[in-house]
């Protein structure tokens, strides 16, 4: 009986958490589309997410592109397929590694910061203070972050795509002695719009997930410094896992052959 009770309790807790998250998401989304919006807040978050994440995401993309070129050369040369390197780099970066690694880096940078900031506001009663000043916390805190995450991550990933392909180009031309013109030609040859677009759609979803997890865990944190710490960890871990799960699902939607 003890075992059954424990299982049931765990299941109930899971259902409660799912319901809470669903209601949070619905409320947050409805505030994203209903005026008044807070343009200053949205702009601040956009700069925070879009502009200040550029170095991290750019470096990630650069080295990813470089290592891809190096790895595929050592692999492909075993069956004389070195010519495919440019294509492999371009497809891998735009379809998978740009959005996924970019999303994960932003989850660590932005998701954690959001959870910590909103969590601290919660435990120091700043969120209650917002309400008493006739300002809806969802509108003022959550909606701008969701909008910024949703719109900025695709732009970041677009930049990351270009830098990643450029990283591959650098290694291909300066280390592996490819002809620059033919490397660029190879890059374009097999790249289709859907490769880039699917990556950008992923980025939008990932950006939304990162902001949602940061806000959700921050908003529901309690119990002082320890609670805020836990919220930060939960935000990063749950955002990272959601990114990986949604990456699979979206890939399935775009590229399933059946």
């Amino acid at each position: 009986m003890g075992f059954l009770a424990a299982t049931g309790r765990a299941f109930l807790i899971f259902l409660e958490a799912t319901g809470k998250l669903a209601m949070f998401t619905a409320a947050a989304l409805s505030h994203c589309v209903r005026p008044p919006l807070y343009p200053r807040q949205i702009l601040r978050q956009m700069i925070d997410i879009g502009y200040y994440s550029l170095p991290v995401v750019g470096l990630t993309a650069l080295f990813t592109g470089m290592v891809l070129a190096l790895q595929s050369y050592s692999g492909f040369s075993r069956f004389q397929a070195e010519g495919a390197i440019a294509t492999v780099v371009a497809l891998s970066v735009t379809r998978e590694l740009g959005p996924v690694l970019g999303g994960l880096m932003v989850a660590g940078r932005i998701g954690a910061a959001m959870a910590a900031e909103i969590g601290t506001m919660r435990v120091t009663e700043q969120i209650d203070a917002l309400s008493t000043l006739s300002t809806n916390p969802f509108k003022y805190l959550v909606a701008p972050r969701l909008i910024a995450g949703l719109t900025m991550l695709p732009l970041l990933v677009l930049v990351a795509d270009i830098i990643g392909v450029f990283g591959g180009f650098l290694v291909g031309v300066y280390r592996l002695d490819f002809n620059p013109a033919s490397y660029i030609g190879r890059t374009w040859e097999f790249l289709e719009p859907v490769d880039v677009i699917s990556g950008l759609v992923k980025a939008a979803v990932f950006g939304f997930m990162v902001s949602l997890m940061g806000c959700y865990h921050g908003y529901h944190s309690r119990g002082g410094a320890q609670g805020v710490g836990a919220a930060t960890t939960n935000a990063v871990v749950s955002a990272s896992i959601l990114i990986l799960v949604w990456n699979y699902l979206i890939t399935g939607i775009f590229f399933s052959t059946k």
Partner: protein, 263 residues
């Protein structure tokens, strides 16, 4: 104490309000009325439900049962939009001041005007500086960030923010906690002055008796989720209630047992 004119309903009235968190009953049938323009101080030990009561009136928490009326209007079933409108009537000074640390001091004071009432920033800044003057802060403080201020100064800014959009009702959550006796007295004086200037209705929760004596027209004592005594501020030393006596004189021995768990 000002008498409530019979034509007007009380400013705030709570009837049989219950609130529990899981098995823990915090408010166990609160009955309380606050008259128009009156300053009520609610005293009670830590963890007796004082803060929860204020948060229920503000709608930050929803009570499990009972009725809360503001100006005769039932507020427990309000929709979010109506709630936002109702909250225009309220100002609140939080225990830790709860200033927005990403905003400058003047932006904190002007927050309700800019975000809540959509006033242009320049005009709101003028009002903010005037309100800061009312609590003894010079305009140069406005450009600082809250983290650069001492505890007492933060309380002043919190007070200026609470009175900035001239609310009809102001709540003070332990306004003197964490302040030295001199700064506590300064804050008490400011509270009395601001409430009088605005003609506002004030509800203060505190366990600082010096503060209660200074601010209160009327005092209510909360114990185990119920109001066990209310009376005129002058009657507090001869209330005839052993719980109130123990609390007012700060005795360790008496009918009140210490609360172990936080709320």
């Amino acid at each position: 104490m000002s008498q409530v004119p019979p034509a007007h309903p009380p400013k705030i009235s709570l009837k049989n309000v219950h609130k529990a968190f899981g098995p823990k009953v915090v408010l166990n049938g609160i009955d309380l009325e606050v008259g128009r323009g009156e300053s009520l101080v609610v005293i009670g030990g830590s963890g007796t439900g004082k803060s929860v009561m204020l948060k229920c009136i503000l709608g930050l928490l929803s009570p499990d049962s009972g009725s809360i009326r503001v100006d005769g209007e039932e507020t427990t079933k309000l929709r979010p939009r109506e709630r936002e409108k109702l909250l225009h009537k309220f100002g609140m000074l939080f225990q830790g001041a709860a200033l927005f640390d990403s905003l400058k001091v003047w932006e904190n004071v002007a927050f309700g005007l800019i975000q809540g009432e959509h006033m242009p920033r320049a005009k709101a800044k003028d009002i903010a500086i005037a309100k800061m003057g009312a609590v003894g802060l010079g305009p140069e403080v406005g450009e600082l960030f809250p983290s650069e201020l001492s505890g007492g100064m933060q309380k002043r800014v919190g007070l200026a923010r609470a009175i900035a959009d001239e609310p009809e009702i102001i709540f003070f959550d332990e306004p003197t906690t964490g302040l030295d006796p001199i700064m506590a007295d300064v804050i008490n004086e400011l509270i009395v002055k601001c409430v009088k200037d605005l003609g506002a209705t004030a509800v203060t929760i505190t366990h600082d008796m010096a503060s209660a004596r200074k601010i209160a027209d009327r005092v209510a004592m909360i114990y185990q989720g119920r109001i066990i005594w209310t009376g005129h501020a002058n009657d507090i030393d001869h209330s005839g209630n052993p719980h109130v006596d123990q609390f007012v004189h700060g005795r360790g021995e008496g009918p009140i047992k210490m609360q172990v768990r936080a709320l």
